[in-house]
């Protein structure tokens, strides 16, 4: 576990050293563009175009709603969604998953430009394979819906230069 964290840190450091010259404004703009792109992708999925507002229970592993998000919190939530998306065997989500990975890196780059250091996100303990297999459709709809809402919140927060 420690080795994993160290490796991740080293990778991030390597990444940051490579793109050291990228202006912060560009990173922020690209982050926003990528968020919008992911939201548009979610909206473009056929079964995501008419989703009811009904509460779906049994999917407690999803991150809760946060009205105010710091960069660290954003990173944690993104990490959680990313892990969920990886476990969803939908082909539609492969591109979104790649975008999420890019988004995480952009967020980390943005945070590092502000001197923030992220903690290693906790592993997703409650994501059970049985739930995914049994309720794949529900999970996908709810996860994408939640992700979209989170991204919209994140987009708003990025306008105000959030803290760590």
């Amino acid at each position: 576990m420690r080795c994993g964290s160290l490796c991740q840190f080293l990778c991030l450091w390597l990444c940051l050293s490579c793109v050291e010259a990228v202006p912060t404004q560009k990173i922020q703009d690209d982050t926003k563009v990528l968020i919008k792109t992911i939201i548009t992708r979610i909206n473009g999925i056929s079964h995501m175009q008419s989703v009811s507002k009904y509460m779906v229970t049994g999917l407690d592993f999803l991150p809760g709603f946060h009205s105010v998000l710091g960069l660290s919190m954003m990173n944690e939530i993104l990490e959680t969604y990313q892990k969920i998306l990886i476990n969803l065997p939908s082909r539609n989500l492969m591109q979104i998953s790649n975008d999420m990975e890019n988004l995480q890196h952009l967020l980390q780059l943005l945070a590092s430009s502000k001197g923030c250091h992220f903690h290693q996100a906790e592993g997703l303990q409650s994501l059970k394979g049985s739930i995914l297999e049994a309720s794949l459709y529900s999970t996908e709809v709810v996860v994408l819906n939640g992700l979209k809402a989170f991204l919209q919140t994140m987009l708003r927060q990025l306008e105000f230069s959030p803290e760590c």
Binding site: C18, V19, V22, L34, T37, N98, N102, L106
Partner: protein
């Protein structure tokens, strides 16, 4: 009792044996050992095998097994062998001098014992045995080679290996139970060789494997002692791979090989090589831990053989087999490396050792050549050693293939001689450009690259490799050590296409092309692409185009494509719809803009519009153009104006009431914007006020004009409304008598254009415009009319005027108060004008012709007898003429004599000994131009004396008169062509000429000039020449003096009255006067049989022109003039021309050109 004690003792002994037997087994050695087996009843008399010492005192060591054990023979273990004889076996190896004995008694019990100083007689059976673990660590192999002696035969030999591998790892494993052994059949691979294979799990490599061998042959069972081994200790690697030898840059021989990759431990290697050269023979055996070995300097013309084997470096192990021997032979000239594959711009070096006649050449004497054509500068040489020379090529260029040779041959030479061997240098330009494009959905990036720019290297393969960084690209892309291959497909256009899907939008994809070849691999310069920066968006959707109502702009609207989310710029192209649209481009840089309104010249046509987009920051590509959107033609605004209209008044009605028919032309789209639904006629009278009448789509409307003034307005109405700017026309009785047009003239330019001009008198009324009306005279079925602005004084009417018809033109002044009185003229046709001119000219010409003819006839009669004298009196000064030197022109003996003299200097002069005189009469008549321009008639009469009229050529006025001139003006030009080829001399007597004076149209003064055209050609008889093409033409010409008033030349004008055919400017040469009454016409050669002479009335230039008198322009005149001048002033200088103008004094030419309009000249065609 004793038996009982013995029994107890025996049991105790056996127990001890069993206990010890479990703890002792023969440890298998990593090397080969022997198994000796003695048949029964031979144990007392044993003979030691050779090499085994009988002294047993030194039998000690780690493998000393001074153990005796006895197995219980019960059970299945030995059940099969109970009836067979027992054989005692023992192991022996060079390292272990002990021999383990395996004995079996008759009762079926056996025991295993190791006997100190055991001596076995060699009469038994012997086997060489070697066991090892294969390199894959999965198979344990015991290889057994039979060494049977004496009584034991090889037939019916069966070998089994029984083994047991414990389930748990124990430090001191106990002997296994006999029932736990597993049986493996050993197969005979080759003669007398058996191989036993025992699979061993990788996890149990450290476990102790117990086993023994059972060999059955001819009813005898040989059983080996129990053996034990840990498989990991006897691993036998495979022989080293890829053994190779190469010469290093320093000239050493380097042996290198590859290590097996499956082994979990390092190996040591033993290298065995030998060198065989003319000067040295040596063998070396070295053990190294690396996978390469430098074995000293290499020598040219030597042979090297090498083998390598490997063994575990740390711990016990088995040597691998030797690798296959590799032989490396060096030539007399050694290049190292012998071949180099590199990229453009790199630096490469070759080394060379040169051996010449068993002697190695000093490196200082070595020179280098390229392709046997170019000596490499010595500055590129380096001396590495006494015998090694080095050449370096900096910044190499791509190799240019020469036929099938795709390399540069680098030669190492000994001063002035080169060995035929060479090194090969392959320089490849690997600058492959990779371009990528991300699709509009941002899910796929397609990269394309082509190999067209690089030289293909035979045997090479191309592969695209890439490395993805998590975010963005580095400033300087570099080839990353960890890369992935990417499959690319060759397209029809020669490009390779590689698709990345899905993509990481903001990751940096560093890509390069690797060229793999047997000489090495090359890589193209890496390219890094971020998919987000190479997006080609989808075309903007929902593009619409319309002409905005009431605004009149082309409005194009669109929507933003779903991707990318960046700000976009847009580009619009629009144009008139058609097959080939002439596009106009409009840029929209406002990312939020979704429409653009553009001014267009024509609002009532269909426009096509397309839109495309690109990121506003300039990254990426333009999208494709959207599907074209078309405008729909519809009413945009109210009509720009009402129709222009005119009226036709029915004259049959009474003067108080007249039927007025209004006429107007339908409004065009540009005026109606874009259609007219109906027309409305608006009336206004002082009595009835204003009222309107809807006339629908008709363009004619009749109403009754009853009042003094009746004002009409015609409005055009479309779906938007009625026209705001309209024309008014007031019909007023009083105003119809107001006349301000003083004169009106019409001049036809051609059948499609007429010029009208007019003059006005001052008026107090408010003149708005004119209406010009014309029609064919005496035909009322159709009138045409035009609205002309009031400021215009001259107007061009374009219409199809029929030449045979007569037209009537009326110009109506339109006042604000009403329509004024028109000025009407009748225009005549050209025939009429021409006829009148001809008629008028006839009255003048006839008397003149008659009087001239009479005068000429009288002159001829009177001067007939005095012709010679009269003629030669006016010969100019003979001093100026070379041929005339010495001749008495005052008293010529005969006319012929004169020419005989002349022929002395003329090549063909003799042919002119029989001159023929030709008389030609050419008259040029000019008829009256117009009735207003009473141009005088001019006539030129010319009389040429001709003794024989039949042979001469006379141009009679009636024959060549230009009576057929199509123009209104008539110009009479008389010409005559004569195709006779007989030689002739022509003379002309100029009776009169007129002075050319320009015609003043206003005053109608008569000026005359003469334009005469004479042409006569007489060729010499064909039998007088060797070639029939040699022809001589006598070209007659004359010059008219303006001092002869009795010759009237017409002034040539055309009916249009705008252009003059000839502008009379020139004057005749002054040297001619009244006394010179006879003129020589000239003799010239012709190039064409049919040619003519045209003399204008003004220039005094004799000009030739085609027989049909077709003028092509005044160029002809100039040419002819120059020809004449040339003939005149170059007399005698050319033999060919001497016969042309042998009397040049009679010739004159004005270089002043005629200003004759080209089109007018065309009209002179007869």
């Amino acid at each position: 009792m004793t038996c009982q004690k013995f029994f107890v003792a025996l049991l105790h002994w056996e127990f001890i044996y069993v206990i010890t037997a479990f703890n002792f087994s023969y440890p298998i050695t990593p090397w080969r050992f022997k198994l000796f087996c003695m048949p029964p009843n031979t144990t007392q008399d044993v003979v030691l095998p050779s090499g085994i010492s009988k002294n047993t005192s030194d039998l000690n060591g780690q493998y000393e097994a001074a153990v005796e054990a006895k197995f219980n023979s019960s059970g299945t273990y030995f059940s099969n062998f109970s009836s067979k004889p027992t054989v005692h076996c023992c192991f022996w190896s060079e390292e272990d001098k002990n021999c383990s004995v395996h004995a079996d008694n008759i009762e079926g019990k056996e025991f295993v014992s190791t006997v100190n100083s055991v001596v076995f007689q060699q009469i038994g059976a012997n086997w060489n045995i070697q066991c090892w673990m294969k390199e894959d660590l999965k198979l344990f192999i015991c290889y057994m080679e039979s060494l049977f002696k004496n009584s034991v035969k090889n037939y019916d030999l069966k070998v089994h290996l029984l083994y047991v591998l414990p389930e748990v790892l124990e430090e001191s494993p106990l002997l296994p139970q006999k029932g736990s052994f597993q049986l493996v059949q050993c197969n005979c691979s080759v003669h007398e060789c058996y191989e036993c294979r025992v699979p061993v799990p990788t996890a149990k490599l450290n476990y102790t494997l117990f086993m023994y061998l059972k060999i059955t042959s001819a009813g005898v069972v040989f059983q080996s002692p129990l053996m034990s081994v840990q498989p990991i200790n006897i691993v036998k690697p495979d022989p080293p791979l890829d053994l190779r030898m190469e010469i290093t840059d320093s000239g050493h021989l380097k042996i290198s090989w590859s290590s097996p990759t499956l082994l979990p431990f390092q190996l040591q290697y033993q290298v065995k090589y030998s060198e065989n050269s003319t000067t040295n023979m040596r063998e070396t055996d070295e053990i190294v831990s690396a996978t390469s070995l430098l074995v000293g300097s290499v020598l040219p013309g030597s042979s090297y053989e090498v083998q390598v084997r490997g063994k575990r470096l740390d711990g016990p192990g088995v040597w691998s087999d030797w690798s296959s021997p590799l032989i490396f032979t060096t030539q007399d000239v050694i290049y190292f490396p012998p071949k180099i594959l590199t990229t453009v711009g790199s630096n490469v070096s070759f080394h060379c050792i040169y051996k010449n006649e068993n002697k190695i050449v000093s490196s200082k004497k070595i020179v280098w050549w390229m392709n046997l054509a170019e000596k490499i500068p010595q500055s590129h040489y380096n001396v590495v050693g006494d015998h090694v020379s080095k050449v370096t090529f900096p910044n190499v260029n791509a190799t240019k293939p020469r036929g099938k040779f795709t390399y540069d041959a680098v030669y190492c030479c000994n001063e002035h001689e080169c060995h035929h061997r060479y090194a090969e240098l392959y320089v490849i330009d690997v600058n492959i450009n990779i371009s990528c494009e991300t699709d509009g959905y941002l899910t796929k990036m397609t990269c394309r690259w082509s190999t067209n720019t690089i030289q293909s290297l035979v045997g090479s393969t191309l592969q695209m490799r890439y490395h993805r960084s998590s975010l963005y690209c580095s400033d300087v892309p570099s080839i990353h050590p960890t890369s992935e291959p990417k499959d690319c497909n060759l397209q029809r256009d020669g490009f390779y296409e590689c698709v990345f899907q899905p993509i990481f939008l903001f990751s940096g994809y560093t890509m390069w092309i690797r060229i793999n070849h047997s000489l090495g691999s090359l890589a193209s310069p890496p390219t890094c692409v971020v998919p987000d920066s190479v997006v080609k968006p989808l075309p903007p959707p929902s593009v619409k185009a319309e002409i905005t109502v009431k605004i009149g702009l082309l409005k194009i609207s669109w929507e933003k494509p779903i991707f990318p989310e960046n700000n976009l710029q847009f580009q619009i192209r629009y144009g008139l719809s058609g097959k080939e649209v002439q596009w106009k481009i409009h840029e929209v840089y406002d990312a939020k803009s979704r429409s653009a309104s553009l001014p267009v010249p024509d609002l009532c046509t269909v426009y096509a519009a397309q839109v495309r987009c690109k990121r506003l920051d300039g990254l990426g590509y333009w999208s494709n153009w959207s599907s074209p959107a078309y405008t729909v033609v519809m009413d945009i605004k109210v009509p720009v104006r009402g129709p222009e209209f005119w009226r036709r008044i029915d004259e049959n009605t009474t003067k108080k009431e007249r039927n007025v028919t209004l006429l107007w032309k339908p409004l065009m789209k540009n005026d109606s914007l874009c259609s007219v639904r109906r027309y409305v006629v608006k009336h206004h009278t002082s009595r009835n006020g204003t009222w309107s009448e809807d006339v629908g789509n008709h363009t004619k409307f009749t109403f009754l004009w009853t009042e003094q003034a009746h004002t009409i307005t015609v409005l055009a109405v479309n779906s938007i409304g009625a026209s705001l700017a309209n024309f008014n026309l007031t019909f007023s009785w009083p105003m119809s008598k107001v006349n301000i047009v003083q004169s009106l003239s019409a001049y036809p330019l051609n059948s499609s254009c007429m010029i009208l001009s007019w003059t006005l008198s001052p008026s107090d009324y408010n003149l708005m415009y004119f209406i010009l009306e014309w029609k064919i005279l005496n035909e009322d079925n159709e009138i045409k009319w035009l609205r002309i602005p009031s400021s215009v004084k001259k107007y061009y009417i374009h219409d199809h005027f029929i030449p045979i018809e007569k037209y009537q033109f009326s110009l109506y002044p339109i006042f604000k108060e009403g329509v004024g009185k028109p000025k009407t003229i009748n225009s005549f046709t050209q025939d009429d004008i021409e006829k009148r001119q001809n008629d008028s000219g006839l009255y003048v010409l006839v008397p003149i012709i008659i009087s001239s003819s009479t005068l000429l006839l009288g002159t001829l009669l009177i001067s007939h007898q005095r012709m010679k004298k009269l003629f030669w009196e006016d010969v100019p000064n003979p001093k100026n003429c070379s041929w005339a030197q010495g001749l008495n022109f005052q008293k010529p003996e005969t006319f012929e004599h004169l020419f005989i003299k002349h022929t002395e200097s003329v090549t063909f002069g003799s042919l002119l000994l029989e001159p023929e005189t030709i008389s030609e009469d050419i008259s040029v008549d000019t008829s009256w131009k117009t009735k207003d321009e009473k141009a005088p008639t001019a006539m030129v009469s010319l009389l040429l004396t001709t003794p024989d009229l039949e042979k001469g050529s006379i141009c009679i006025t009636d024959q060549c008169n230009s009576a057929n001139f199509s123009e209104a003006e008539s110009t009479t030009i008389t010409c005559e062509d004569e195709s006779r080829r007989e030689p002739s001399v022509k003379y002309a007597t100029l009776l009169s000429s007129s002075k050319s004076i320009e015609i003043d149209e206003e005053q109608g003064l008569i000026n005359s000039s003469v334009s005469k055209c004479f042409s006569d050609r007489n060729s010499l008889p064909q039998d007088s020449f060797s070639n029939s093409s040699w022809e001589i033409e006598t070209q007659a010409f004359f010059m008219l003096s303006d001092q002869h008033p009795n010759i009237i030349s017409p002034h040539l004008t055309f009916s249009e009255g705008l252009d003059k055919l000839l502008k009379l400017e020139g004057n005749f040469l002054k040297e001619n006067n009244d006394e010179k009454s006879v003129y020589y016409l000239g003799v010239t050669s012709i190039k064409k049989r049919e040619s003519g002479v045209f003399l204008t009335d003004e220039s005094s230039v004799l000009c030739s022109f085609p027989a049909h008198c077709l003028f092509t322009g005044y160029r002809i005149l100039q040419d002819s003039c120059s020809h004449l001048v040339e003939n005149t002033f170059n007399l005698g200088t050319s033999g060919q021309k001497t016969f042309v103008s042998y009397l040049p004094q009679f010739q004159t030419c004005s270089t002043q050109t005629q200003k004759i309009m080209e089109n007018k000249m065309c009209d002179l065609t007869v």
